[in-house]
């Protein structure tokens, strides 16, 4: 079917408008970060700063322990993702390949765990971490983030393993592999892209968390994650929007890069199973 000229014009206008509206807030964040305080107070607003202050990033890194916060976020995410992947690769494989008594209900329970309000779970976790002396340490956040990540990764991986033909490991077992060996030597290498996408998805979940970090890490600034540090800047620097915006960009950048490079995989994992 060929579209009429008018139809095409309408379509392109609609697409450009939609994209512009959706991306504008991010663009505005960049503009704000690069503007001078005078430009931020100007009317009409400056839509592109006359002399972009590229050194704003160097400045905020010097003024605040942002690199330390980013490091903490990386540590927390790496820990939470490693822990979650270890258990959910095994569980996802098991749910995909074995018809187990109770497997169905476990799957259902994991699904329900995705519906848990973080604000409810944070209360008992606070009590548990206080009792074990983990409050203030990144370990508390690592464990708490696993509660967010495991339900997602288990289901994503189950869906991914479902797409890999069983004949692969059957052939390996005929060649003398044990069932476990077949999984480790044959299925996991084949699933590398799926594993990577799932792990990155978990990374994004941990990176974006605010509630758990806000509750468990408040006592020492050196243990803050990037999101937590960012919100404290919003609180005290009410007027310094350029600095807050620059810090926001630094915090958002890793996730945005992951998204831009791996859009296909992330979106594929997100929608896996929804098309049935």
């Amino acid at each position: 079917m060929r579209r009429s000229l008018r139809g095409s014009a309408l379509l392109y206008t609609g697409v450009v408008l939609t994209c512009a509206l959706l991306v504008f807030p991010i663009y505005w964040l960049v503009v704000t970060a690069l503007s001078t305080p005078a430009e931020l107070r100007a009317l009409p607003p400056t839509f592109w700063p006359s002399a972009p202050r590229w050194n704003v990033f160097a400045e905020i890194v010097q003024q605040r322990p942002i690199l330390l916060w980013l490091g903490n976020s990386i540590l927390a995410a790496a820990g939470a993702v490693t822990l979650s992947m270890l258990v959910s690769v095994l569980a996802g494989y098991s749910l995909s390949r074995f018809k187990l008594r109770g497997g169905q209900s476990l799957g259902l329970f994991i699904l329900t765990a995705k519906m848990l309000p973080a604000t409810l779970l944070v209360i008992p976790l606070f009590g548990i971490f206080r009792m074990t002396g983990m409050i203030g340490s990144l370990w508390s956040v690592i464990l708490a983030h696993a509660t967010l990540i495991v339900p997602f990764t288990t289901w994503m991986l189950k869906g991914y393993f479902d797409t890999i033909p069983r004949e692969l490991e059957q052939a390996a077992m005929v060649d003398g592999c044990s069932p476990l060996g077949a999984m480790v030597r044959v299925i996991l290498p084949v699933s590398a892209p799926g594993l990577a996408a799932t792990a990155l998805y978990g990374f994004v979940l941990s990176w974006s968390d605010y509630a758990y970090a806000r509750t468990f890490l408040t006592n020492a600034q050196t243990n803050w994650t990037a999101n937590l540090g960012l919100t404290t800047m919003k609180g005290e620097y009410v007027s310094n929007w350029a600095d807050i915006s620059a810090a926001s960009l630094v915090v958002a950048l890793p996730v945005l890069l992951i998204y831009l490079f791996l859009e296909r995989y992330l979106v594929g994992g997100l929608t896996a199973g929804a098309e049935k």
């Binding site: 095994l90 944070v122 548990i128």
Partner: protein, 301 residues
């Protein structure tokens, strides 16, 4: 048929043991960090506790938290705010998400770039989304006041975060921007699974674009639509970061949802027993609502 002996490894069914073994770490971890804490919070909700000391004997059983909860105007206000937020945000997320998906699903040059951009806000951390919109709606130098004055909608600048209605609206706008790309992603996936033959057959029968939309596209999207609706509603229902960082539940509790109330009671006033009761009620609503809406849970998502 007699059941096989407990550990009869000679039977072919022994392969199942591997299955259970692989599930074990996940079960242990989930038990430790989800199931046990869940029991603890239900238990806390029946005690009169401030900051819980789990290593000390539990306080006497009481239903006072729940009694106080259901008679407190604050709880009913938070329920009403939550309901309003869920309905408004989900409605716009769906309207815009479906519209965008239908738009981007057409074939055109630059389609993959458009898809990339359309879903971009989904990847922005919630806290960063709050920074963006708090600045856009800043009362003195924010862009939105300037736009509204230019359009002739207002004469003087609005102080967005001190008026209850305006603050609620800003929270809605932020959540819609952050949340609706997810709907677009899910709807696009759904649209792509509809066979092209359906449309060709309909065209042969002389169906126009509107009839194709209502008779083929929407019915075929129904299953994805249902799942997505639940996920979006649950997200709005439970969301904490956006509202807490943006308004802290204020002004005058105009944005205090059940999640914010739970958190405030627990970590603002250190009434963790009472807060747990709010949280438990929230959880029950979540589970009932999703079961009602979902019906056939296990195959989806």
């Amino acid at each position: 048929m007699p059941r096989p002996a407990f550990l009869d490894l000679a039977r072919p069914s022994r392969r199942h043991w591997l299955g259970y073994l692989l599930l074990l770490p996940a079960v242990l971890l989930i038990g430790l960090i989800i199931v046990y804490p869940l029991f603890v919070s239900v238990d806390l909700s029946f005690q009169n506790v401030g900051i819980p000391r789990l290593d000390q004997p539990r306080r006497p059983f009481t239903t006072a938290n729940y009694e106080r909860l259901f008679t407190s105007p604050e709880f009913w206000n938070a329920s009403w705010i939550t309901l309003k937020l869920v309905v408004i945000v989900s409605f716009f997320c769906f309207l815009l998400g479906l519209g965008t998906a239908l738009l981007v699903n057409n074939r055109f040059r630059g389609q993959s770039l458009a898809r990339l951009l359309v879903a971009l806000p989904w990847a922005v951390p919630e806290v960063v989304a709050v920074v963006i919109f708090a600045w856009i709606f800043d009362s003195s130098f924010g862009l939105m006041n300037w736009v509204f004055i230019k359009l002739g909608l207002i004469n003087t600048t609005i102080n967005w975060f001190s008026s209850p209605e305006a603050a609620f609206a800003v929270v809605c706008v932020t959540m819609i921007w952050k949340g609706y790309p997810f709907v677009s992603i899910m709807m696009l996936a759904g649209l792509q699974s509809i066979p092209e033959d359906f449309y060709n057959a309909a065209r042969v029968d002389g169906a126009n674009a509107w009839q194709r939309l209502t008779n083929i596209t929407l019915p075929s999207l129904m299953p994805v639509l249902g799942v997505t609706l639940i996920l979006v509603m649950l997200w709005v229902f439970r969301d904490f970061s956006i509202i807490y960082v943006m308004t802290g539940g204020g002004p005058l509790k105009a944005t205090q949802t059940l999640s914010i109330m739970t958190y405030e009671q627990a970590f603002g006033f250190f009434k963790m027993g009472y807060a747990s009761a709010v949280g438990v009620v929230t959880l029950i609503v979540c589970v009932i609502a999703s079961r009602l809406l979902m019906g056939r849970a296990p195959e989806t998502v």
